[in-house]
């Protein structure tokens, strides 16, 4: 009942409000699309924008170079446990082997489903790093779009204090409008969670000064392959 009376009130109000509509100025269909500058390399732009929002981007010519780069980071951060996605690009990169060779415990969908709930909760909260790929990367804003699905958990890019992302040239789109368009055409219904990540976790809540890592990862590194 309260639903119907709620909507009836709104219907009446919306009708009355039509007398007070604001002036519509028509805007061209293209308005709002920014994208790349003419002749710009999407991978170069993506890397530059990731840096601009407080992440650190590295370019790698191929998967072998990316693998070496990642290996050096694992040493640099003295990683002992990693929360990872199951993803085709990470498989081609040989991520599981890379971690195993270094004695790093890998928590991924496969291992997590085996655990009792409480143990799983404690393990994921304690991981040193998160490693994911993405569904799309947006060059103009330095953004990664990650969709949740079994094997590609939302917590991998969220819980650990350090977060590494691996992106391939084929995943890059110029503008946010392209990414949302692709999301719409490839997913119906939408995934339960789609997150656009643009930078490390930030806050300006204390004296308007930038402080990183308050809830999500404070350090964000991205490898752009190709």
């Amino acid at each position: 009942m309260s639903r119907d009376s709620f909507l009836a009130t709104v219907r009446q109000a919306a009708a009355a409000g039509r007398a007070h509509r604001v002036e519509h100025v028509p805007v061209p269909e293209q308005t709002g699309y920014i994208g790349l500058r003419p002749g710009e390399d999407p991978a170069v732009r993506l890397a530059a924008e990731v840096d601009a929002v407080g992440g650190t981007a590295f370019r790698a010519t191929d998967l072998t170079a990316a693998r070496d780069l990642l290996a050096s980071w694992l040493t640099e951060f003295e990683v002992r446990s990693a929360l990872t996605w199951e993803h085709e690009l990470l498989a081609r990169l040989g991520l599981a082997q890379l971690l195993a060779e270094r004695g790093i415990v890998e928590h991924t969908h496969r291992t997590l489903v085996e655990m009792p709930e409480e143990a799983r909760r404690l393990s994921v909260l304690a991981c040193d790093i998160g490693i994911t790929s993405c569904d799309w990367a947006i060059a103009e804003t330095g953004t990664l779009v990650v969709c949740s699905r079994p094997g590609q958990e939302r917590i991998a890019s969220l819980l650990p204090p350090v977060y590494f992302s691996i992106v391939e040239r084929e995943q890059i789109v110029p503008d946010l409008i392209d990414a949302i368009g692709s999301l719409r055409t490839t997913h119906d219904p939408l995934p339960s969670n789609v997150t656009l990540i643009t930078g490390p976790s930030k806050t300006g809540d204390i004296e308007l000064e930038l402080t990183t890592g308050v809830h999500g990862p404070g350090k964000w590194r991205v490898i752009v392959v190709g």
Binding site: L183, L190, T195, D205, V214, H215
Partner: protein
């Protein structure tokens, strides 16, 4: 009503003028407000400048809002159907009391006692936290700023930076209590403490409560925009997610979203996009290991339908970015608490009287110089100054707000404008009486009798000793002719 320097940080319904005095007398508040224009305000202005066609993009967002509100009921029905199709539940709350009852009921149904919240101005609006606490539900605000003011018992002083009024020193004192030790006034250490303390709360919480920046009717999604990541944790870890939205937050299509995202972050902080934008569509799907098992959407009216049918309907376009606060010379002088309501700054001066009553907040429509900086900063170009003027006019018709003296003054003014001879007589008299002052000072610092109210807060310009019409009759015309003649000569 007496207001001590600190209690207006907590109380609503205080006198704007008295609270402003308190704010102006607080050196630490003035220091931080002084920074606002050069930080967030400047970043916003730079962002509009750097964005090609920023005006057209904002116009586009504005068009979508206007179009959506014209058929709001239909879009809400579509939203409901899509949310249900994705396994979520929709609840309708006509007012704040109903909304509180729904949320408390949902939590109690689960037998839950621990709740984490991501920042939601709508939940502030309905005073949700006191209701949760009264029901014995432990509630933790997880946005750093909200966490700090929850511990301090303050109200938010800014739409996006709720603890803006506190210095690092004050924050350190507030956080030292739960830390059980003295924390230094260093931002990194304070943030690290909050991260660790709040992780614990996230790990234990059974229910997560969030607001919604947008809701997409066609897909049944809500959109949550944050920079810290607490919004993500709120809907990744607890088993149940309750999202609370004002009904005006709905947009028809997913394709509409990018335009709003492009202007929201630029308005709020000058970023191209905020760090985390989540598009959430129902509870977790089969096989997923995180995300809530239950998703509830509470849609709130609470006075919005009254505004929707009124000439001030445009105030419902607001996407709560805070840009108008950062741009406003009044906000940057007195801060958020002086406004008394949940929403402060220029848009608060419109919304608080609309939601909370005009007579009770009669100072707010006047808490503006009408300079237009708010409208220029706004990502949806809301015509705030016009709305404030409209409210001032409505205020004049409120019973109890009418002053006989003011009415008399305006009646005289109207009469004199209608009768040129009376107007001439009036200006002649003014020049010969008050005008003499001008020779001593161009400003009158004290007007007599009932007019003293004006000069209590500002000076009044003294009328010129010579009327324009007299000057024109004697010299102005001459000068004008001289110029015209000399120009003519040049041409020939």
């Amino acid at each position: 009503m007496a207001t001590t320097p600190t209690d207006y940080l907590r109380q609503t319904h205080h006198e704007f003028l008295e609270a402003s005095e308190g704010a102006l007398a607080s050196p630490s508040l003035q220091l931080i407000l002084g920074k606002l224009g050069d930080t967030l305000g400047k970043r916003n202005r730079d962002a509009w400048e750097a964005l090609p066609e920023s005006d057209a993009i904002r116009q586009r967002a504005r068009n979508i809002k206007d179009e959506t509100l014209a058929h709001l009921a239909e879009h809400l029905e579509t939203l409901e159907a899509s949310v249900v199709a994705r396994g979520g539940k929709v609840h309708w709350a006509a007012d704040a009391a109903e909304a509180r009852k729904i949320v408390v009921g949902l939590i109690q149904q689960r037998g839950a006692t621990r709740v984490v919240k991501s920042k939601s101005m709508t939940s502030e609006e309905i005073h949700l936290n006191p209701a949760l606490e009264a029901a014995g539900i432990e509630t933790t605000e997880t946005d750093l700023g909200e966490y700090i003011i929850q511990l301090a018992g303050h109200r938010p002083s800014h739409i996006v930076g709720p603890a803006l009024h506190l210095s690092a020193q004050e924050v350190a004192e507030i956080l030292s209590k739960p830390a059980g030790q003295r924390l230094p006034a260093e931002r990194e250490i304070l943030a690290a403490f909050a991260r660790q303390a709040l992780r614990q709360k996230f790990a234990e919480a059974e229910v997560g409560i969030s607001g919604a920046n947008f809701a997409i009717a066609e897909t049944g999604s809500i959109v949550l925009v944050t920079n810290e990541g607490n919004g993500r944790l709120t809907c990744a870890l607890p088993k149940c997610h309750i999202a609370l939205m004002g009904m005006e937050k709905v947009i028809p299509k997913l394709a509409d979203l990018p335009y709003f995202l492009k202007v929201l972050a630029r308005g709020a902080t000058g970023q191209k996009l905020s760090v985390y934008t989540q598009i959430i569509t129902g509870p977790r799907r089969a096989g997923e290991l995180d995300g809530p098992e239950e998703f509830h959407l509470v849609i709130l009216d609470n006075g919005r339908s009254r505004i929707l049918g009124s000439p001030l309907r445009e105030s419902l376009f607001c996407i709560r970015c805070g840009a108008c606060l950062n741009a406003c010379p009044i906000y940057r002088s007195v801060g958020g608490h002086a406004y008394g309501g949940v929403y402060s700054g220029p848009i608060g001066a419109v919304l608080t009287p609309l939601y909370d009553g005009l007579a009770a907040n009669h100072h707010l429509p006047h808490a503006s110089s009408l300079c237009g900086a708010c409208q220029a900063a706004c990502p949806v170009k809301i015509q705030i100054p016009q709305m404030l003027v409209q409210l001032r006019e409505e205020l004049h018709h409120e019973p109890g707000q009418q002053s006989r003296w003011e009415s008399l003054a305006y009646r005289l003014w109207a009469q004199s404008l209608r009768r040129p001879w009376l107007y001439r007589l009036g200006t002649w008299l003014a020049a010969r009486t008050l005008g003499r002052w001008k020779r001593k000072s161009p400003w009158l610092t004290r007007l007599p009798g009932k007019l003293a109210g004006w000069t209590a807060k500002r000076d009044f310009p003294a009328p010129a000793a010579e009327r324009f019409r007299d000057w024109w009759a004697q010299e102005g015309r001459e000068e004008g002719h001289d110029e015209a003649r000399s120009e003519g000569q040049h041409e020939s």
